[in-house]
Symmetry: C2
Subunit: 207 residues, 2 copies
DNA sequence: CCCTGTGAATATTTTCACAGCT
DNA sequence: AGCTGTGAAAATATTCACAGGG
C-alpha cells in the first residue's frame, strides 16, 4: 500500500457507481478489467486505487461486489445522511434544492439562507428561508456539516467567513472567485463559465 | 515551447480572469509572480504556460495586460459569441438559462428543447421551448455550436446521438453517466453528486 | 537589477509486467 | 487458466535555477 493519489477519490466515486449498477444486476464478482472497460481506463489503475484503500480481491475471480460497495460507501461517507445548508435561494439554489438525486445519495437540505427580504420567510418543502444573521443558529440546530454556496458573486467570501466561524469545514461553491479558507476547510468549486470556456477554446483552435 | 499540458487551459482561464481584473484596475504590466501570488501557484508555471502558447513577456517588467488579455480571449474563443442550445427546461435548465454570467462571457442561449408537452410552446425570454424532434432544424437555423444537457438521467445518450448527427461537437453535460461520443466530439461533465461525495468523503475520513 | 524563458531536476501519476494465489 | 497485487519503468506535470535581455 503506497500513498493515496490526488485523483483516486474521484475515480473511486465512479467505481462505486459502476458497482452499484452491477449490484442491481445481481452480479456477484467484478474484475478490474470489467470496471476499466466501462471507464476506458487501465485495469492496473483500478487495482492500484483499491489497494491504496486496503481492498483485496480474489485472484482469478475479481472483487466481491457487495462487499466492495459497502467498503466504498463507508469510505465515501455514503452510508449516513449529511445535513446540508443552502446559501442563496435564487434560480441555481432552487435547482439544487429541488434536485432529487442528492437525498438518494445521503445529502439532505436542512436550511436555506438568502438575504432577499422578498424570499425570507417563504418555505421550500417546509424549510423556512432565513436571513444571513441566522446562519450560526441554523447550523447548530440542524447539525449542518456541508454548505453549498449558490450566490452569483460578491458576497461569497463574507458568507464563507461566517460559515467557518460557525464550524463548517466542507463547502461547495458555485461562486467563481477563489475563497480564502484556513487549513482544514475543504472547498470544492463548480465553475460553469469555466466549463463553457473550455468548450469555446476547442472551437477556436479548430478555426 | 514544449507540448501543451492537460491542465494548462484550465489555468489559462484563471489567468485571463485575473488579467481582466487588472485591466479594470488600469494596470499596464503584470509579472508572473503577481499572478502566481493570487492563485497560490509557482510563478515558473505561469511563465511556462504562457510560453506554451507563444506569449512573450518583457524581461524585467512582466506581461502587457491589454495585449495578454486579447491573446487569451482569442485563444479561449471569448472574442466572439457562441450560440448555445439548452436540452432540458427543468429547474437546472432554468437556472442555467437565466444565469446572466454566460452572455457576458460570449455564450448565448438560442434554443431550448424539452420533451414535456406541458412546457413545449412556452417562451423563455422570447425563445420557444421546442420538442426533441426539432433538434436538427433548431441547430441549423440558429447556428448552434454548443449544447448543454440538463436532463436528470435516462435519455442523455439518445439526445447526444441526435446532437452529434446534427453536427454538434461541443457538449456540456450535467447527466452523471459517461456519454459515448466519436473522436472529435468534446464533452465536459459537471457532476454535482460527485462534488458532494468528495466532501462527505472528507467528513468520513476524520471520524 | 529584476523578471523572463527554458533546459534540467524533481515530483507525481500512470502503465507495464510478472510473481503468486485460487 | 485467469486475475490480483505490486515493484519497476514510463509518462506527465511541476519546480528549480540560472543565462540573458531590457
Amino acid at each position: 500500500m503506497s500513498t493515496i493519489n490526488r485523483n483516486t477519490i474521484h475515480r473511486i466515486i465512479m467505481y462505486n457507481r459502476i458497482l452499484k449498477e452491477a449490484q442491481r444486476n445481481k452480479i456477484d464478482f467484478i474484475t478490474s478489467k470489467e470496471i476499466s472497460d466501462i471507464l476506458i481506463k487501465n485495469p492496473a489503475q483500478i487495482r492500484k486505487d483499491l489497494s491504496y484503500i486496503n481492498i483485496k480481491g480474489k485472484p482469478g475471480v475479481g472483487y466481491n461486489v457487495i462487499s466492495l460497495v459497502s467498503k466504498l460507501d463507508s469510505l465515501l461517507g455514503l452510508n449516513k445522511m449529511w445535513n446540508v445548508m443552502l446559501i442563496g435561494a435564487g434560480n441555481l439554489g432552487g435547482a439544487l434544492f429541488f434536485y432529487h438525486g442528492f437525498k438518494r445519495e445521503g445529502f439532505e437540505f436542512k436550511a436555506v439562507i438568502d438575504n432577499d427580504s422578498g424570499k425570507i420567510g417563504k418555505k421550500w418543502n417546509g424549510i423556512v428561508i432565513s436571513s444571513v444573521k441566522n446562519i450560526k443558529n441554523k447550523i447548530r440546530d440542524n447539525k449542518i456539516s456541508i454548505a453549498i454556496i449558490a450566490i452569483p458573486r460578491d458576497a461569497a467570501q463574507k458568507i464563507v467567513d461566517k460559515l467557518i466561524d460557525a464550524g463548517i469545514r466542507e463547502i461547495l461553491s458555485f461562486a467563481p472567485e477563489p475563497l480564502n479558507v484556513p487549513a482544514g476547510v475543504n472547498v470544492r468549486y463548480v465553475d460553469l463559465a469555466l466549463e463553457l470556456e473550455n468548450l469555446s477554446c476547442h472551437l477556436s483552435y479548430k478555426k
